[in-house]
């Protein structure tokens, strides 16, 4: 459960003292509450669940762990037999 997907904050505003962002997912944009991610800014990626950002994607961590994964992909090669 808990379908949350990463999106990029492209704009933000304060509306009735609530932080609302315009967040881009692939080719579409949706209004998203940024109240739970005060540290996220325009340009950052956030994980969004039911219209609320619940975390800021840690780009550094993602990159670091991804490099390790890529190495594994290069080294290991073929799919093991079923």
């Amino acid at each position: 459960m808990c379908l949350a997907i990463p999106g990029k904050i492209v704009a933000e505003e304060l509306r009735n003292s609530l932080r609302i962002g315009r967040v881009q997912f692939g080719g579409i944009v949706r209004e998203t509450s940024l109240d739970f991610v005060p540290e996220a800014e325009v340009g950052d990626y956030v994980m969004v669940h039911v219209g609320f950002a619940i975390s800021k994607v840690d780009a550094e961590e993602a990159e670091r762990t991804y490099e390790l994964l890529e190495e594994m992909g290069v080294l290991e090669g073929e799919l093991p037999p079923a």
Binding site: M1, C2, L3, I5, G7, R22, Q24, F25, G26, G27, I28, V29, R30, V48, H49, V50, L79
Partner: protein, 353 residues
């Protein structure tokens, strides 16, 4: 082959079933429930060979000529959406049902069921759009009807059409003609109509420039038939998406279909919307795309002809017909594993889980 479970008369089951005594919205979504209505109510009542083929159009013989007839109803809400409206949709949808049988579309009838209180200006806009679509498709609206229903009985406006076309003598396309080894061709990216509509819907809205792909496909079909007359089958995936159409073909031809996820074109916006709402693009509606089942020997030239046409620029070969798992559609995922592409019961719903 049976893919639907035994219905309420499965007397061995001790558990209570929710009774299917009322028609549900799901019965209109083009999936399993719709198929059940056809199988259980309509076919037994109207039984005849032309109907039994269950293609998008019926082919009848009149004085030596083969005439294609189709009927369709348009209940789309909202009436106006990016890329079209109920009027243009009505023309394109009807033309496409005829074109999928290889018929040249000629004449349409249009019946309006109008909810009391609809703005005359709205009606005028719809009619003008309908006429423009008909003109550009080269068909004439030759007869019609108007009814008005009480306020609250309709969604503003419903349109019913009948289309008539003429079949070339050597064209024989039907959903029961697919054979193992055939290639499955798709004319372009999927899900645009469904997402264009969803983007406007209360409760789900999002910003998007996706326009409905609603378009008349008969000239694309003609360019394909110019390459070869022996295309087995063509279908335009509408409600229920690409999956429903392919499942229908697999069922009617009693073959399996194996798709390749990599080769199915999905636009970036449709992708983003589907990821956000938890939808699978394979089940999202289209209104301007076609699927063709083609002998592998001529698949290449047919594909080239498609790509040479405005409505087929992104055409791809997306799969193969197989003798394995008759009636079932499967897909090789981007990871190289296999998944089943099942037919949905009713409409696909957005999910949060």
């Amino acid at each position: 082959m049976a893919k639907t479970a035994p219905t309420i008369l499965g007397l061995s089951c001790p558990a209570p079933f929710p009774a299917k005594d009322t028609v549900l919205l799901g019965h209109g979504s083009g999936g399993k429930l719709s198929a059940e209505l056809v199988r259980d109510i309509f076919l037994p009542a109207f039984d005849n060979p032309a109907l039994a083929r269950l293609d998008d159009q019926a082919v009848v013989q009149v004085n030596g000529s083969r005439i294609a007839i189709t009927t369709d109803s348009f209940v789309v809400k909202p009436l106006f959406f990016p890329g079209g409206d109920i009027g243009s949709l009505a023309v394109h949808g009807t033309v496409n049902d005829l074109a999928m049988g290889g018929a040249q579309p000629l004449f349409l009838s249009v019946a309006f069921i109008i909810e009391e209180g609809l703005s005359v200006d709205v009606l005028r806009r719809v009619v003008e759009s309908l006429q423009r679509a008909a003109a550009s498709a080269g068909v004439q609206i030759v007869t019609g009807d108007t009814k008005v229903v009480e306020k609250g009985s309709g969604d503003g406006l419903f349109i019913n059409t009948t289309g008539i076309g003429l079949l070339e003598p050597d064209v024989e396309m039907s959903a029961n003609r697919a054979r193992p080894g055939d290639q499955v061709l798709l004319s372009g990216s999927i899900g645009e109509h469904g997402i264009a509509i969803l983007a406007q819907r209360e409760g789900l809205q999002f910003e998007s420039t996706v326009e409905s792909d609603s378009a008349s496909l008969h000239t694309l079909v003609a360019s394909m038939l110019n390459v070869t007359r022996s295309i087995r089958c063509m279908r335009d995936p509408t409600r229920g998406g690409l999956s429903s159409t392919l499942n229908e073909i697999a069922a009617q031809s009693q073959v399996g279909i194996e798709l390749d996820e990599h080769s199915i074109p999905v636009g970036e916006e449709v992708r983003g919307a589907c990821e956000l709402l938890g939808l699978d693009p394979l089940y999202v509606a289209n209104e301007g795309k076609l699927v063709a089942i083609v002998d592998p020997v001529i698949a290449g030239p047919v594909l080239a002809a498609m790509r040479g046409h405005d409505l087929g620029r992104q055409a791809q070969i997306i799969g193969t017909v197989t003798a394995s798992h008759p009636g079932l559609v499967t897909m090789r995922t981007v990871l190289g594993t296999n998944r089943v592409v099942d037919m949905l019961a009713g409409d696909q719903l957005p999910r949060i889980c």
